[in-house]
Amino acid sequence: MLENSVGARAGSFGDYEQLGEDVLIERCKAGDTAAFDEIVRRFEKRVFNYALRVTGNYNDACDVAQEAFIRAFHSIQTFRGDAKFATWIYRIVTNVYLDERKKLKSHPTTSLDDTIELDENSVTRQIEDSTPSPDEIVQTKERMRILQRAINALPDYQRIIITLYHVEHRSYEEIAEILKLPIGTVKSRLNRARLAIAEMLESEPELFG
């Protein structure tokens, strides 16, 4: 017999912000979704930014980042703790992105002009002078837009490596672990990606003189 039983589940689950990563992961494995919520809180910005730079598009980044967290939730039991959680989650985001690319390859939807719109604050933070003129803000914004367009034009693996190294500040060893590639391959692909970016920016002398 099934009655409409409703029990209030609200209430404190303890102070998760104070817990270490390994404790949170153990709790996630035991089915504690509040622990997973805390994991999402800690990693959402990193995961979203990584997704944003590799997809080059705000909407796609939302979808990829969300899907990555759902995959992480499903496979948390397989996380053995040999690697750092960050390394593991970057690998999941990468796989989600590559899977989506495979699906969309026949119907590409990202145009080169569909680049990231940066809010003004995030740009002004990057400017060393504390009082940038409106022209400087516009110019910096334009530079970042062109830089993102150059990143978008790179082949998938180069784009992923350049994002992991320069945006996410991962070491060669971590990138090799995330992508399951030899360190030598990571280094040579990073060099090729950097050379390609430099070459692309050369065609914008008024901004990158």
Partner: protein, 324 residues
Amino acid sequence: MNCKAARNLFSAYLDNSIDSSRKVDLEKHLADCEQCDRAYSRFRYAISMLERLPDVNPPAGFRASVMARVEVERRKVPARVRWWSIDWQKVFTIRVPARALAVGLAVLIAFVISLQVLPPLRTGIAGLFLAQKPSEAPISTLDQESARAPMPWTPENRNGQGLILTLDVVQSGVYCLKLHTKSLKPVAFDIDISGTKYSGFVVADKPSAIKVPAPRSGSVRVVHVAWSIGEWGRYQTVFLPSKLRSRAVVKTFSIEKATVADVLRRICREYGVAIIAWGNLGKPVAYAQVYQATPDDALYECLNRVGFKAYGVAASIYAVEPVR
């Protein structure tokens, strides 16, 4: 050293991970070859630009939408176990201590008895109590002009097999959210009203209802409803204004750098309409201009370009969902 070999060493040189003999060769090459020297300057500049790429915040409500999906996923029934794939030898050799078995049985019996004895739908939260069966609840006494009978609504109807939501106004300042289904299998739900969570089941002929107090004047109450049946589930959000407005009004306003959720909240407040929505409400809405528009037009203006559609299900009540 030729130019190609020199350029292959740019990264190692910049990162200072080059061995000393090759470093000497490269520096000699850069001193002799103006082209490579310029290329290296460009290379170094490009790297410095990459390091200055700003961090961007995820959209508001991103984490909430992830957790809503997690909640739906969590409720999915695990894959069916085939009897021939079970390791029967293991099953029969599991050792359960007698005391644990006795305690387990006692808990099970107590649970079954409690289902028989306890009144259904208790929450114990003052002000937020579960109503009697929907048929006993008075409907729309607040505003006679909006008293067109509310229509039940569920995303992707599937003959009403999912959770069907109906919204009524019970009395001034109190909404009644009715939950029912045509499914013979139980539909599990979780409801979050301003941080207080409720969970339960509905099944055909056994509906539930929750009374939700209207928010204070000028604000919006957001109710999150997650539900699942088997593999299928949805996360719905209900936006409730302080008072449903009976007469259509026209408004002019603009929205910038918002999400679908922000847009719905704004339209709910501006027009005094209730909105039941599902889909990725964290999706960004870069810009929308609403000019002397009715709620129908405002919803179209703001949502059409981001892949959502809206339609009225009753006077002052709208359903919003992704375009399929």
